[in-house]
Amino acid sequence: MPSKRFVVGRAADLADGEKMAVDVNGRSIAIFNVEGEFYGLLNRCPHRGADLCAGRFLPLVSAERPGKYVYDTDHQLLACPWHGWEFDVTTGQSYFDPVGMRGRPYAVDVEKGSLVATEVESGAVSMTPAQYAAATAGQNAGDGKQPGPYKAETVTIEVEDDYLVVDLRPRRPGRRTAS
């Protein structure tokens, strides 16, 4: 199966703690910024199909014994808007059954505009990560050699900006920190 990588927006437009749903190749993908790192989930709760992107982030609460709460505001779980099932958006795992019940994660990479601009002309990045790395080997420094702006759907690519790239191949999510 060929890889499918799609530029979906500017990293700067999704602030820490925010989420957005994007349509990628016919699929709705929920993208989350968790403390500067970006994660993607199929925007469909594995339970009954609700838009996960409409859920709320709630702190992880646990307790070894009655009343002995551990309220971890540093660990936010996404609660499905319909039935409250909690998911860790960094892995897709549900809280109550991490192995058996999980959302479908997608890698969301952050790339320099200079690296994705060419690909954006066709709307997609259709290379394996290795091919992609080879093809863009000379551009790693983000040196601005590629002229901009480029248009892809409604996204304007600015070479000096970081862009979010969704990889539709099903796998555990990679992580890229915005530079």
């Binding site: 307790a63 070894e64 014994r65 009655p66 709460y69 551990v70 409250g84 809280y95 109550f96 059954d97």
Partner: protein, 367 residues
């Protein structure tokens, strides 16, 4: 269960393996039977008022109802059913050839409100049980009754008799002023665990603990057939309030509460726990997992369905997802109109010896 070894029914026709009876009853024949175990002040308290019995039992067990006592087990000479060891031996212990039986006395202690007298009466019932029953038949293992409105007094009574070797359980009535899972009751459960006692949730309780969530019924049939609601509510309370996380060694028996409401209860609880667990974060696993580890159920009464639909019964039992939850009990002298042979037929082979003896033997740490 109602299956009794009457007349021509030999024990072997029902079950050839060992039998442990998880619930037989001793009935206090009269208040005066307790006088040897009461201080003079409380004897006089009874006699000055011509007080004869707590009001609770007559309400829960109308004396002449066949539910209260199976007709064949009712002495024809006017003695109170199940009021003497010899009756229990003749009707259950000997014909069933039980290895052991758990002896419960539901005296309606909970329907006595005077806070000091009730303590004396609870102790008297327990001493009567120990001296007149347990001491006279090694097959018997007993349960303590407790003054259920006073957690401190409950704890004292557990400490007083909890190490008596034949005491294996403390009884809590299914109806109570406060749900048993509430934190005010935690010391009671802790005391039971300290003495390695099972907590037995038993049919009955005060009339002020309504048997349904929406009020009082008008008729005995409503109370009798609807009591499972009280059991389900108490089990829910114990599970949700975190009693089992607080006391990981706690064992709870549900006695005379039925058990085929449990699969539906478990399905609903497991389902809703997934989305509502945030408010009770100590409940860190599906509620039915807690049930399977910490609860056992006397197989009385049994909702067995029509005999021609045994497949449905097998399906319902399969929903329990465990062979270890059920304990055979005659509930002597009650008559529940359901037969153990049909329950046995609904269980897979490995579950049958567990039902008849081994689950209760392990649960109550019986020899």
């Amino acid at each position: 269960m109602t299956t009794s070894l009457l007349g021509t029914t030999p024990r072997e026709s029902v079950w050839t393996g060992p039998v442990v009876d998880a619930d037989v009853h001793a009935q206090v024949p009269s208040a005066s039977a307790l006088f040897p175990y009461l201080a003079q002040q409380w004897i006089d308290w009874c006699t000055e008022r011509n007080w004869r019995t707590p009001p609770g039992p007559g309400q829960h067990f109308p004396p002449n109802s066949p539910r209260t006592c199976r007709p064949e087990w009712r002495p024809d000479d006017g003695r109170v059913p199940a009021s003497e060891l010899a009756l229990l031996q003749e009707h259950v212990l000997d014909p069933w050839r039980v290895d052991a039986a758990i002896l419960n006395c539901y005296y309606g202690i909970d329907s006595i409100r005077q806070p000091d007298w009730v303590n004396a009466m609870a102790s008297a019932v327990n001493d009567w049980l120990v001296h007149e029953w347990l001491a006279k038949d090694a097959r018997l293992h007993g349960s303590l009754v407790l003054p259920v409105r006073d957690p401190e007094a409950m704890v004292r009574e557990i400490h007083r008799l909890g190490d008596q070797p034949q005491i294996k359980q403390v009884l809590l009535p299914a109806r109570s002023d406060l749900l048993w899972g509430r934190r005010i009751h935690l010391p009671v459960f802790r005391a039971a665990v300290e003495h390695d006692l099972v907590v037995g949730l038993h049919y009955g309780g005060t009339a002020d603990g309504v048997p349904s969530t929406t009020g009082y019924p008008s008729y005995f049939i409503e109370e009798y057939a609807g009591e499972w609601q009280s059991f389900a509510t108490q089990v829910t309370s114990m599970v949700v309030e975190g009693l089992l996380q607080e006391l990981p060694d706690l064992r709870v028996s549900v006695i005379e509460g039925g058990f085929l409401w449990l699969p539906a209860w478990g399905w609903r609880m497991n389902k809703d726990w997934k989305g509502l667990r945030r408010e009770v974060p100590w409940l860190s696993e599906p509620p039915m997992d807690v049930i399977r580890r910490h609860f056992r159920f006397s197989a009385v009464p049994a909702e067995l369905g029509p005999p021609e639909a045994a497949r449905h019964l097998q399906n319902a039992l399969g929903w329990l997802r465990s062979d270890d939850l059920l304990m055979f009990a005659t509930d002597y002298p009650r008559g529940h109109d359901d037969d153990v042979d049909r329950l046995l037929a609904g269980l897979p082979d490995p579950a049958r010896p567990k039902l008849m003896a081994e689950t209760a033997r392990a649960w109550y740490r019986l020899p």
